[in-house]
């Protein structure tokens, strides 16, 4: 009897383990485009999806999503639009408006039973975007994002007396809520706000803005590389994390560093004005007007060692 039970147990185990082979991702295929049924102004990227953001054109209108992935994964890839209420208050009057947020998710489960090497790429065509939310382990790249003047949607701000520079110009908000992906954002707008809340993602920002504001929270561990971002007016940097933040501005940098992360700045082409405030607990601040741009190179995992060597050489200068 015991022997029979053992045999049954062995057979059952073999069947269960054997069935694991059926958990495959399937052949990688580019599927017919999905057309979203509503416009969106915010996009949130989750899970492990590699995303390319492209401005819409005649062939690909806004809301077109092209997905390339395994045949067995496609049913678990969702592209949903969710309403988001945004508020503003002016002169005691609170006004709200509903924007649409496109959320990209990979809902496939039991991934440990499948091969970890698989393709999951998405190309999203947009019309207007003023907020990017990253909570992803994927690789995200964009074409030139021009931001969006979302203030014009608030009826309470239509009073010309309330019009400010901000309300006339396009904004772009980058929010990193989590993940460990690699995000490369190209932009050309008036005001860029970057808020790195949590995670180990590397963010590379490039392009031209008038005002830039970069915040790294306590749980920000990845690099914020703004070496190729040119802020013509000012660049405000708050470093609370353990990471490296690279900022660059033509005119003015205002920065504070409250943790062991490093903030590096580069002045470009003409003298700037540096103001720092707050305290620099165990942090480092390089005030060296003659920083040689040769020391600065685009960061990558493979080049980080060389990069750190260059940092050391800067530090060791008298």
């Amino acid at each position: 009897m015991k022997r029979a039970l053992n045999i049954v147990l062995l057979v059952c185990t073999s069947v269960v383990l054997g069935s694991c082979n059926k958990f495959s991702n399937g052949d990688t295929t580019t599927f017919p485009p999905r057309q979203l049924d509503a416009p969106f102004q915010i996009i949130e990227m989750r899970d492990d999806i590699d995303v390319v953001l492209k401005h819409s054109d005649a062939a690909n209108p806004a809301g077109t999503v092209i997905i390339t992935t395994g045949e067995n994964l496609i049913d678990g890839i969702s592209t949903e639009i969710e309403p988001v209420t945004s508020f503003t208050t002016h002169n005691g009057i609170t006004d709200s408006i509903i924007f649409n947020k496109l959320v990209l998710r990979n809902n496939n489960t039991l991934g440990f039973l499948r091969p970890y090497d698989y393709t999951l790429e998405m190309t999203v065509y947009y019309d207007t975007l003023f907020e990017l939310i990253f909570n992803s382990n994927g690789v995200v790249t964009t074409d030139t994002l021009r931001g969006y003047n979302h203030w014009t949607n608030f009826s309470s701000l239509n009073d010309t007396a309330l019009i400010t520079v901000d309300s006339l110009t396009a904004n772009l908000l980058i929010e990193i809520q989590g993940g460990s992906g690699n995000f490369t954002v190209l932009t050309n707008c008036f005001r860029l706000m970057t808020h790195y809340q949590h995670g180990t993602s590397d963010l590379t920002i490039s392009g031209k803005v008038v005002r830039a504001e970069t915040n790294g929270d306590y749980d920000s561990h990845g690099i914020i590389d703004g070496f190729d971002l040119e802020a013509s007016s000012y660049h405000l940097v708050n470093g609370y994390g353990t990471n490296i933040i690279i900022a660059k501005a033509f005119n003015q940098i205002i920065a504070r560093n409250e943790n062991i992360g490093h903030i590096y700045y580069v002045r470009y082409s003409k003298p700037g004005k540096v103001i720092h405030w707050g305290h620099f607990e165990n942090g480092h601040w390089i005030e060296n007007d003659t920083v040689d741009t040769l020391y600065w190179c685009p960061l990558s995992v493979t080049k980080r060692g060389a990069y750190m060597d260059s940092i050391t050489s800067i530090r060791s200068r008298p």
């Binding site: 970890y116 180990t200 990471n243 062991i260 165990n282 942090g283 980080r304």
Partner: protein, 410 residues
């Protein structure tokens, strides 16, 4: 000539003495202790409970070698637990040698060498085939750890030296009287108990196959019935109510995430009390209260720049339900508890916690303990200290009437 004769006598004496030492004291140490050796190969997958670490999802091989004793009833508790296996395991895994060939996994996580004592409880009394549960706790050395510039992707491991915990279910099949096959599935966890942050911990699940071998013919288990059966008329059904009071201290270093002196450790003070009742020879259960002062909260609490506290206001009051498993002097305490809101401190760690404590009874009343506080798998602090137990014997009402009654008088 006399010298030569004396040499012969001396040689003869030495041989005799040597013979006596070798054969006269034939102590069958190996068979007496029922020692076994075992080798096992694993295929593991990571179970990252933080999304960021999922970039390192991969399968990897691991190996372990163990030497252990198959208990045979030398102590009473061994027969109660179906003669568990006790020993020590050496574990090695190269996280970078994964089957998907992702070199970045090895660059960030490296490899691990661990050594942990374990106890392996059979779940059924079978002699030829057994299901067992293995519990091991020891130390692990991970070659890679967090560095805010060089290795910031790995924020699971904050220090090279970590605790290694293994929990696994095993199936053991005896092939010959001395050879066993072993198949297992289990969880291996590495973390430093938040003594050095960041410390989200590294969890791996693995399936393994191996062989175990008795170094000498196994001893026959001494029967459970060796212990006299307790009868109401000869055992008074006494129960023990115990009140435990203990103090523990832990240490935390936050310099890698929040700056400050890298040699400075914040202290964690833990004053706990438990009221426990015994309901089987090896099990007790009850409730507990504790006061915990984690001085690193002042550094790690969100919004600490805008909210200011006196040190005593960081103290938390906790309530818990507790189960205790005892094997002679060693006990495991399993707590499931709640942080009671106290002094309007935000419960940023969550208000539910779990705590596992190992205790060793130094005397009838004094014990040493080592405990790990967690919030759903995320270690909060590791503490150690001493405690005192107040024991109180008691009877239930219906038992009092029958105690110490000789047979025939009921």
């Amino acid at each position: 000539m006399k010298i030569l004769k004396a040499h012969r006598v001396l040689l003869l004496v030495l041989l005799m003495v040597g013979s006596i030492r070798v054969w006269g004291q034939d102590y069958p140490w190996l068979s007496h202790n029922n020692l076994m050796v075992e080798a096992r190969g694993h295929v593991g997958v990571f179970w990252h409970h933080h999304f960021e670490m999922q970039r390192f999802n991969a399968r990897y091989p691991a190996f372990e070698a163990s030497i252990y004793q198959s208990t045979y009833g030398k102590n009473d508790w061994e027969s109660d637990f179906f003669y568990p296996y006790m020993g020590v395991t050496f574990y090695y895994a190269n996280f970078g040698f994964n089957f998907e060939n992702h070199p970045e996994v090895g660059d960030a996580l490296g490899s691990v060498f661990a050594l942990y004592p374990f106890i392996n409880y059979p779940l059924n009394p079978g002699e030829n085939s057994q299901l067992t549960f293995k519990l091991g706790v020891g130390l692990g050395y991970l070659t890679k750890r967090f560095h805010n510039f060089d290795n910031y992707y790995n924020f699971s491991i904050g220090s090279h030296l970590n605790a290694a915990v293994n929990l696994s279910f095993e199936y053991r099949q005896r092939f010959t009287p001395r050879l066993m096959g072993v198949a297992s599935f289990g969880l291996t966890h590495f973390s430093n108990g938040s003594t050095k942050l960041p410390n989200y911990g590294l969890n791996t699940f693995s399936a393994a196959l191996g062989l175990a071998y008795y170094l000498r013919d196994p001893r026959i288990n001494q029967a459970i019935t060796r212990r006299p059966e307790y009868k109401p008329f000869e055992f008074d059904n006494k129960h023990w109510l115990s009140l435990d009071v203990n103090y523990g201290i832990g240490f935390k270093n936050v310099s890698q995430t929040l700056g400050g002196d890298s040699t400075h450790f914040y202290r964690v003070h833990d004053l706990s009390t438990y009221l426990l009742a015994q309901f089987t020879p090896h099990s007790r259960a009850g409730v507990g209260l504790s006061l915990v002062l984690d001085l690193s909260d002042d550094k790690t609490m969100p919004g600490r720049d805008t909210i200011f506290f006196e040190t005593y206001q960081l103290t938390r009051l906790n309530f818990n339900l507790c189960y205790v498993l005892t094997m002679e002097r060693l006990s495991y305490y399993f707590e499931f508890g709640w942080h009671l809101k106290y002094n309007h401190i935000p419960l940023f760690k969550g208000n539910i916690y779990q705590k596992v404590t190992a205790r060793y009874q130094l005397s009838d009343n004094i014990y040493a303990h080592l405990g790990l506080m967690t919030h759903f798998g995320r270690a909060d602090y590791l503490c150690f200290g001493l405690g005192y137990r107040f024991n109180q014997k008691y009877y239930f009402n219906h038992e009092k009437s029958t105690k110490h009654r000789p047979p025939g008088l009921h």
